[in-house]
């Protein structure tokens, strides 16, 4: 294992199927070299009770394992047992079948596996004279408990949200879908981070082609470190679909993920993050929430209508206001025209600049409010309310009507919070278009936006599916939500949406 010392290899952690050495001390020495004498790499040496006193060692990462579990289920039984003279391989076999009380024991013999198990919180048992080793499930690192996700709050429904450890997230899904068709597939990405992913799907619902495409795209991921779901989103997007909108959904709610999986979608759980990736992801899904399925259909319709209107208001209201006040004041109703004109006349800046300025200041304050420590958050609110809301208007720097328009658009943008990034960017673009070219500019912008959205696909499924390509059948859960008796008649599998073509969306 001299190549351990080669930095090029070490950076890439490219050990492939290289087997461990038989000699225990050499094994430990190589691993210490590999981990560069890292302080958390610990070795517990032991001497087994055999006639020739075979040496053994327990290799762990400090903080990743539970010391109690190690003591109770590994060290205690090992030291208490007495063995006859046997070959090391046979000795290992006896240890696995008769001595260890841990529920999870995996045999391996390669360097790659050894690193993966140790860094994942397993205790690795090595004995002298054999390259075979055991990974014993003793994970016991501290983690955040299962709690309601702050970004996806619901009124009715589960209060559980995903957390960071992968296995707990798997459990949260398995508890909700107790079917043998639910499959979790493991993939490791990140040359350095070796992040574990779980591809989760229902084998009787998901499309085999889609699954293959997801596996292919994840395997093509050449990142060195994967620390969050967002790292993988761009790899899962269709290559021919550049857009401000995302074709990859994210959720922190197990019930949402289970609902999506049951429609043939594929979820990807990433170790170390509560955000689960869901593909394919469509535009209409941004307006759906778990509450929609708990509330009565008529109320769901009302809420969804509100969401769609809010989306349009958030994107277009400042732009239309700018275009009207700059180019088409005749479009304002008379009363509003008088008040708006009076307000705008008293301010020094032209309307488009005023709208851009306030929107920009608002975005700065939002970002500051988001990053600032919580106790100071109130200070930002007070400064924002007083400086912008009161002083700027009374000083005549900005008009009250402009402030109201920007504030309305800002509030509306939070109704569909997942769409906040595209809404913000589009709002600025349309304000510029409305301010320079008037309504005509906005219309041209809409043309480009519509074409962009309509050409976008998510794993080959048109992003605007249900609306365009239009389908009456699929509309049962878009604006209206059909009653459960109707919804229960058949499941809408995502791969059967009109114009779906996985190869078209692939790389």
């Amino acid at each position: 294992m001299d190549f351990f010392l080669n930095n090029t290899f070490r950076d890439k952690t490219f050990f492939g199927s290289e087997k461990m050495k038989k000699d225990l001390q050499e094994k430990i020495s190589d691993l210490k070299t590999l981990f560069a004498g890292s302080a958390d790499f610990t070795v517990r040496n032991m001497e087994l009770n055999t006639p020739d006193k075979v040496k053994a060692a327990l290799l762990t990462m400090e903080g990743m394992c539970s010391k109690d579990i190690i003591a109770l289920s590994v060290i205690d039984p090992l030291l208490a047992a007495s063995f006859e003279k046997q070959a090391p391989d046979e000795l290992l076999n006896i240890i696995e079948t008769q001595i260890l009380t841990s529920s999870e024991v995996v045999e391996f013999e390669t360097v790659d596996d050894c690193i993966m198990f140790i860094t994942s919180g397993f205790a690795v048992l090595a004995i002298d004279g054999t390259e075979k080793m055991f990974a014993i499930g003793t994970q016991g690192f501290s983690f955040r408990g299962v709690a309601e996700p702050e970004s996806e709050v619901v009124q009715r429904g589960s209060r559980e949200g995903f957390t960071e450890p992968l296995r707990i997230n798997m459990t949260l899904i398995r508890r909700r879908i107790k079917s043998p068709d639910l499959v979790f597939e493991t993939i490791t990405v990140g040359d350095c981070s070796k992040t574990q992913l779980m591809i989760c799907y229902l084998q009787n619902k998901a499309s085999a082609e889609m699954l293959e495409e997801v596996r292919k795209r994840l395997n093509e991921c050449d990142l060195s470190t994967v620390l969050a779901s967002g790292y993988l989103s761009e790899y899962l997007e269709d290559s021919n679909s550049k857009s401000v909108f995302s074709g990859v959904g994210i959720s922190e709610r197990p019930d949402t993920v289970c609902g999506k999986i049951s429609e043939g979608r594929i979820a990807i759980l990433v170790d170390g993050t509560p955000a689960v990736i869901i593909v394919p992801h469509l535009f209409v899904e941004e307006f759906q929430s778990v509450d929609d399925y708990s509330n009565r259909p008529y109320y769901t319709f009302f809420i969804r209508l509100l969401k769609y209107i809010s989306f349009f208001v958030a994107v277009f209201l400042p732009a239309i206001y700018t275009a009207f006040s700059q180019f088409h004041p005749e479009y304002f109703p008379t009363g509003l025209l008088i008040k708006t004109s009076e307000a705008l006349l008293e301010t020094p800046l032209p309307a488009p600049l005023e709208v851009i300025l306030i929107t920009f200041v608002y975005e700065i304050m939002r970002e500051a409010g988001l990053r600032i420590p919580k106790p100071l958050g109130h200070a930002v609110s007070i400064v924002g309310a007083l400086v912008i809301g009161e002083s700027a208007v009374s000083a005549g720097i900005i008009s009250s009507s402009t402030l109201m328009v920007v504030a309305t658009a800002a509030i509306c943008s939070y109704v569909t919070s997942a769409l906040y990034p595209p809404i913000t960017i589009l709002r600025f673009i349309f304000i510029v278009l409305g301010g320079t070219l008037g309504m005509w500019g906005i219309v041209l912008g809409i043309c480009v936006l519509l074409i962009n959205m309509c050409s976008k696909t998510s794993l080959g499924v048109p992003y605007m599916s249900s609306l365009a390509p239009f389908s009456w059948k699929r509309m049962r859960d878009v604006l209206f939500r059909a009653d459960w008796k109707s919804l229960a008649k058949y499941t809408m599998r995502v791969q059967r949406f009109e114009d779906t073509n996985i190869k078209f969306g692939g790389k």
Partner: protein
């Protein structure tokens, strides 16, 4: 998973959008002697005739699952060179006329000082982007624009209900043969939609004729309502004006809320955008590299040059703007040439 296909409704709805405002932006009731009944009859006859323009292409699609362009290329590549040249000229001609109408309308109704060349250039750039995304994206976009156009028209019409005045009895006066033919020829200019169909319908999966009939029935209803409101809401004032739909949108109001002409402007721009995109896709399909962006830019450049010629030489080439000339060329492109192919290559049609 088959190749990306386009639904019948989606395509027909997009064609509806491309035809709608082109037709409605014309004046059908500019002579006070023309009666409402005869205008309505000419509209019905015109729309039904236009629907018949689709028949040759539908025959080809039903028998070969190819649109006319694909079929013509498959049966004789040498002959297709001549045919594609004709259709390329036709599409460029239609684009030129369309842009001239749009630019004139823009200057008359929105901004008289706007530079037509800039407007057309920007519109062409966007259309090139759209056509490069393909027929699927354009037809999906057409669904949204269709809904917007219908809502706009409903608002414009209902906003004019308070303006209706049935005291104008001249609306029911008799009509001369010439007026009827003139009116009919205006409606038949919608036939260019059938030519577009023959060029871009190849991706349609299991085309259903009923959708074409339904969409045209909606179209007919919209046109008849248009005539009705022009006659009874605008009255004699409307007869003497251009852009009657624009006037309708301008006069539409709900209490003191007006300004519906911005809906007209938006719908008109959307419609022209969709039509140009389809024309560029059609032009691309005439070449062997239908997906090439370069080809589309090249054709957009030719269309722009055509528009510049029309803009600066409009007095010298009036024949190009004649509705009769347009109808004849459209009839040849939509009916005569596909029919000749059907007859000449009927054996290949049956395969």
């Amino acid at each position: 998973m088959n190749k990306s296909a386009v639904g019948s409704i989606q395509l027909m709805v997009t064609l509806f959008v491309s035809g709608l405002f082109i037709i409605l932006s014309q004046n059908y009731y500019s002579e006070s002697s023309v009666s409402l009944i005869f205008t309505a009859i000419s509209a019905v006859v015109g729309v039904i005739f236009t629907l018949l323009y689709f028949v040759p292409t539908i025959i080809i699609i039903k028998n070969t699952e190819k649109d006319f362009f694909a079929f013509a290329r498959a049966v004789s590549s040498k002959l297709f060179v001549a045919v594609s040249l004709f259709y390329a000229l036709y599409f460029v001609y239609v684009s030129g006329i369309l842009l001239k109408k749009y630019a004139d309308g823009f200057n008359q109704t929105l901004n008289p000082d706007a530079n037509a060349l800039v407007i057309v250039f920007v519109l062409l750039c966007i259309s090139v982007y759209a056509s490069n995304k393909g027929i699927s994206a354009v037809t999906r976009c057409g669904v949204f624009i269709f809904v917007f156009c219908l809502i706009s028209l409903i608002l414009i019409y209902t906003g004019n209900i308070s303006n209706l005045d049935f005291s104008d009895t001249t609306a029911f006066a008799s009509v001369g043969k010439d007026s009827f033919i003139k009116s009919l020829s205006l409606y038949m200019s919608l036939g260019f939609v059938a030519v577009l169909f023959s060029g871009v319908a190849g991706r349609v999966k299991s085309f259903k004729v009923k959708y074409a009939v339904i969409v045209f029935a909606i179209f007919l209803l919209v046109v008849l309502l248009y005539i009705f409101f022009v006659v009874f809401a605008l009255g004699k004032y409307g007869n003497q004006q251009n852009n009657q739909l624009f006037l309708l949108s301008k006069s539409a109001h709900f209490d003191n809320i007006g300004g519906l002409d911005c809906l007209f402007q938006s719908a008109f721009t959307f419609s022209v955008f969709i039509t140009l995109s389809l024309l560029l896709i059609g032009l691309g399909r005439l070449t062997s590299k239908s997906n090439s962006l370069l080809i589309k830019i090249l054709f957009a450049g030719i269309i722009f040059a055509m528009f510049v010629c029309m803009e600066f030489c409009s007095n010298n080439c009036k024949i190009m703007f004649s509705i009769y000339c347009f109808d004849v060329v459209t009839f040849i492109a939509a009916v005569i040439i596909p029919s000749i192919y059907i007859i000449a290559f009927r054996r290949k049609l049956n395969v």
